[in-house]
């Protein structure tokens, strides 16, 4: 799962033990990035 740090804007990968924290700046607010898949939506 890829996230982006909301303060330093760097890509962050979360691991099991590190907790929710940016390894570069220590900021605790991470934004989830949209995946690269094509998403199909039904309109109704």
């Amino acid at each position: 799962m890829s996230y982006k740090c909301s303060r330093c804007k760097r890509d962050v990968t979360l691991d099991e033990y590190g907790g929710v924290r940016c390894p570069y700046c220590g900021h605790r607010v991470l934004l989830k990035e949209r995946g690269g898949d094509v998403k199909e939506v039904d309109v109704n």
Binding site: V38, E40, V41, V43
Partner: protein
């Protein structure tokens, strides 16, 4: 064959809206035509959207719903119900994505208007998608309705009974629709501000429905012309009657 004596007269006529006087209809038949125009004439509408990128502030589903409501031109001679046409949209901010930015793989099926806003994009936001438009009827989903404001009223016959009493007040007498005067002239009430006392000041009047005469107000979303919508609606009634005829005779 039927002995109905129909008479059709266009009172107002534009590309997308018209007022038509039809004589010789029963109320049930008039309502059947109205309902057929709304629910039984198919039009193209976006049904599935594949989002490649959407960094706008709105969810994919919400943009999908907006796209579904964009009217698409529908040449009914060329397509059948269920046919699909692929469209695409690719806009990068800062800009507003309009229906006119939608590109089509089939030039006969394109947005009827170029100025329907889909989403406003800020710097760095982008939307890229591919969409399938399907031909279907308003019965399946309201986005497929070709007629958007379809209704009818009785034609009103106005008779002048005489002068109003000397001391009677000249009250407003509001009537909306189309009237038939004693001379047989057909006049939309908008011509006298929907107020009969403007057209007949100081007169005592009787207003009655003309039996079997209906004034249809027809407006389309641009996917079809008014005339085509009316003709196709009548065709669908004929098709269903034929189908019933076949079933009954078997």
């Amino acid at each position: 064959m039927s002995d109905a004596d129909f008479d059709v007269q266009y009172i107002e006529r534009d590309d997308r809206s018209a007022r038509v006087l039809i004589r010789g209809l029963t109320p049930a038949f008039a309502n059947g035509i109205r309902r057929a125009m709304i629910a039984d004439v198919p039009t193209f509408s976006i049904d599935t959207v594949r989002f490649v990128e959407n960094s706008s502030v709105m969810f994919d589903e919400m943009i999908g719903l907006r796209l579904g409501l964009v009217p698409l031109t529908t040449p009914l001679d060329e397509f059948e119900v269920g046919d699909e046409v692929t469209l695409a949209l690719d806009v990068e901010g800062p800009a507003t994505a309009y229906s006119g930015d939608i590109e089509t793989s089939e030039p006969m099926v394109e947005p009827a208007d170029d100025n329907v806003p889909i989403i406003e994009l800020k710097e760095g936001q982008r939307i890229e998608l591919e969409a399938d438009a399907v031909l279907d009827t308003g019965k399946e989903h309201a986005k497929h309705q070709g007629g958007v404001s379809v209704g009818y009223r009785h034609l009103q016959h106005v008779t002048v009974d005489g002068d109003r009493g000397e001391f009677d007040e000249d009250e407003t007498n509001v009537l909306r629709g189309v009237i038939e005067t004693e001379d047989g002239d057909i006049v939309p009430t908008a011509a006298f501000d929907h107020d009969l006392s403007e057209k007949y000041p100081g007169k005592e009047l009787t207003v009655e429905d003309v039996p079997g005469a209906f004034v249809f107000h027809i407006e389309t979303d641009g996917s079809l012309s008014v005339e085509e919508l009316l003709l196709r609606a009548i065709d669908t009634i004929e098709e269903r009657a034929d189908e019933l005829h076949t079933k009954v005779s078997v």
